[in-house]
Symmetry: C2
Subunit: 347 residues, 2 copies
């Protein structure tokens, strides 16, 4: 029997605050009825919302605090003003103290990363945490990291991202030996940035605990060429947002095309079930949530603008990561591979 999980929620984070957080918890609970939630924030705002959601209250505990981190706070400001007492900090602390198995916040990314690093610390051997995203592909899904924790990555960090991403793929996709590629601007060995080329060389020769497939290009990600795509955070963030923008753009084209004639409108009406399935598949709310990897604890960042459906996806993700024993898997893999690779040689 698996013990029920506890998830800490920063109830004050995000553009819409407690309403979306509690709504999202309610939706996620319907899928995982045993889960318990710790809600950090303004008790007098949270309590009435909880009561309105039948049954949710019995899975929840409210931990009151007056302090919330503004969405536009700089990470250093957030740390200075919100440490020890903000809803974001307290939710992270619950993970550190073993009171929760994971934390979810829709608050500001920089502040969340700064606090999570400060409070949870990085895993032994990991220099910098990364943010991973689950990216829908033609075949199923893949993991892309880093999508924005850092604006660059050296050889050593790229290798760590590969190891962490592969450990995550093992935990959440159940793959024994996930395939891993390095994102680059061409598949030939001579292409791209120095650090990417040397990370590629190191992975090729070091028998890593995954199936290293070499370089992949931007067009390979959505086609599902590999299970894990490794990149530094600048290009990764640009790629992720470009894909989101392209999906929105094509949805616009499709809407316009289906309205251009009576026949097209009639056709669209007949095919409305199919269009609904397509819209569902393309709905960015279903893949909402950045997973912070490399910390002593599971931290999930929801989109700041997410609605309850989107926030629920992030809570689901926290649930899956905790069930997949993400942190332990990463720690084991990093330790083994670092010993083997003699990582200082490539640092």
């Amino acid at each position: 029997m698996v013990a029920p999980l506890t998830i800490a929620l920063d109830a004050m984070g995000g553009d819409h605050g407690p309403e979306v957080v509690i709504g999202g918890a309610g939706l996620s609970r319907a899928r995982h009825p045993d889960t318990r939630y710790l809600l950090f924030g303004q008790e007098d705002t949270i309590a009435p919302l909880l009561e309105a959601d039948s049954g949710l209250a019995e899975n929840c505990e409210i931990i009151h605090t007056d302090v919330a981190i503004p969405m536009d706070a700089k990470p250093s400001q957030a740390l200075r003003k919100g440490r020890w007492k903000s809803s974001m900090w307290l939710a992270i602390e619950a993970v550190r103290d073993g009171k929760a198995d994971a934390v979810v916040s829709a608050g500001n990314t920089g502040a969340l990363m700064a606090m999570a690093r400060f409070c949870l610390k990085t895993l032994p051997g990991i220099e910098r945490p990364a943010i991973a995203a689950i990216w829908p592909t033609v075949a199923s899904e893949c993991i892309v990291l880093d999508v924005g924790a850092n604006v660059s990555a050296d050889t050593r960090q790229l290798i760590d991202f590969a190891v962490m991403g592969a450990a995550m793929a093992r935990g959440v996709f159940g793959l024994e030996r996930p395939t891993v590629g390095l994102l680059n601007i061409g598949v030939e060995e001579i292409k791209g940035l120095e650090d990417i080329r040397s990370a590629g060389a190191a992975l090729r020769t070091s028998e890593p605990p995954f199936d290293y497939r070499g370089f992949v290009e931007g067009s390979d990600v959505g086609m599902g060429a590999v299970d894990v795509v490794v990149t530094e955070g600048f290009a990764g963030n640009i790629a992720l947002k470009t894909a989101e923008g392209t999906a929105r753009q094509i949805a616009e084209y499709l809407r316009a095309a289906m309205n251009r004639s009576l026949l097209a409108r009639l056709g669209a009406l007949l095919a409305q079930g199919a269009f609904r399935a397509l819209a569902e598949k393309m709905d960015p709310r279903h893949s909402n949530g950045g997973i912070f990897l490399g910390l002593n604890g599971i931290v999930i960042k929801s989109h700041g603008g997410a609605d309850a459906t989107g926030f629920a996806s992030a809570v689901d993700l926290a649930y899956e990561m905790a069930h997949g024993r993400l942190v332990e898997r990463i720690a084991e893999n990093v330790e083994k591979f670092h010993t083997k690779l003699d990582i200082d040689d490539v640092a």
Copy 2:
């Protein structure tokens, strides 16, 4: 009256060689019947293909050479073995010598850039050329540069890219004062790489000859937020290919959705005109062609795997760029803005 244009074609470049090049020239000529083409390559392969295309031969001149640059040649190899004599080199040389107004090649990008720089030289004041792409947006089109000439760009180069991109937007979109954005991972001033932030600061305060709109994100490109998106070549290339991959992925989803039930198939049948229009709009062959900016001459790179329709788009692009007096516009703008900005301050 406008004098007819002459376009130099590297007939041996690309995965499919002369067949696609001559087929593409034929398609483009149907739209621009006055244009003349100089075809560089194996005469005995080219001549029969030309004769098969009724009427095209009278607009063409074949310049024979035995030497072709392999698609996998390194730039340095290509220069060493192909300079003065390959089809790629001779086609570029025709532009340098004023015998052609533009050159198009589907050959290997690195080799084409190396030869073009060596033969044509960069414009005064430009350190590094960039490759620009025309990117379809919800509203119309925008220009994105650099999409892969370089794997990094400093402050000075980003500013040059902005000036060149804006000059191109003026020439090809006919915009008096194009809007320009710097691609970044957030719109706040504190976000992103140092060089992007300082380029942003310089553009904000220097009254550039365009409407500088600040940072844009990956999701803004396809939504048409600005006319010109400026980025270094690594992220730009990743973004471009990610958008292509996402479009292919959604086309797959759509096909699958329209086949999932009898009703959907019937709907798709009724709406087939609309689907055809959508497919046309999403067809990557219609936006085939990277434009090399910053050289003393117009050089267009077609996708190596392009078919005749795709190659014809690249030839059309060469035609438009030559008609829009691209090189003169860029030279004027760079000179004016450099004088004004006192560019050495930000270098």
